[in-house]
């Protein structure tokens, strides 16, 4: 069964360092997303990406964050200068078209710990 894969599964970094989280969405999917979940809190939307551009972003997704689809398979989230409060589980998700297929596939997540 096709799946969304994320790397790394866990990254520990120092405050102020740059981090890149990588995702390989399901191959025929068109919409890509990043969500995050701070420990014990709800899953929060960060950004959606379609046709090689951001289609929507939340207030959390400030200038420190960026996304890129550098080739036909990878989808990355970059945090330029990490803060302690960026510590969370980051989930990548993809869908063919959310409204009609009714399914957004999530990866297993990348746990980011900022020290």
């Amino acid at each position: 069964e096709p799946e969304v894969t994320q790397t790394p599964s866990h990254q520990v970094t120092q405050m102020g360092q740059e981090v890149i989280l990588r995702c390989v969405p399901i191959s025929n999917h068109l919409y890509f997303y990043w969500y995050r979940q701070i420990l014990g809190q709800k899953v929060e939307f960060l950004v959606s990406f379609y046709n090689n551009e951001i289609s929507e972003k939340s207030e959390i997704f400030d200038d420190q964050f960026s996304v890129e689809r550098p080739d036909g398979s990878n989808f990355t989230l970059k945090i330029r200068s990490t803060k302690l409060e960026d510590s969370a589980m980051y989930f990548c998700a993809s869908s063919v078209l959310v409204e009609f297929t009714g399914e957004l596939f999530f990866g297993e997540g990348s746990r980011l710990t900022v020290l």
């Binding site: 709800k42 899953v43 939307f45 959606s48 409204e99 957004l104 999530f106 297993e108 997540g109």
Partner: protein, 108 residues
């Protein structure tokens, strides 16, 4: 402002003891409502999508229903393997707005 509230926050059931989880929402431009299951340390796993009031979907011991302001996830005769956090997520434009979830524990 879009709001999603799930209740109860936690639910402990004996195996075979049926119950319901509630999701109430205020979301502008609602395009559908999703239910997901999340196991500890894992990503959300899709269960159902509901698009209109009155709609029902079933999968094994789970049945989801939708009204204009609420959705219910009914669990019939649950088993220990149904233990997980159940997330409700209305769809607004093209993003899901997740509730905080109901943490379900089913004991044998």
């Amino acid at each position: 402002e879009d709001q999603v509230t799930q209740s109860p926050e936690a639910l402990r059931l004996q195996e075979g003891e049926s119950s319901s989880l509630n999701c109430s929402y205020t979301v502008s431009g609602l395009r559908g409502l999703f239910w997901y299951r999340q196991d500890p340390g894992k990503g959300p796993e899709f269960l159902f999508t509901l698009y209109s009031a009155g709609e029902e979907k079933e999968k094994e011991r789970l049945k989801a229903t939708l009204t204009k302001k609420e959705s219910f996830l009914h669990i019939t005769a649950p088993k220990p393997e149904d233990s997980a956090t159940y997330l409700c997520a209305p769809l607004n434009t093209d993003k899901l707005i997740f509730g905080t979830g109901t943490r379900l524990q089913v004991f044998p």
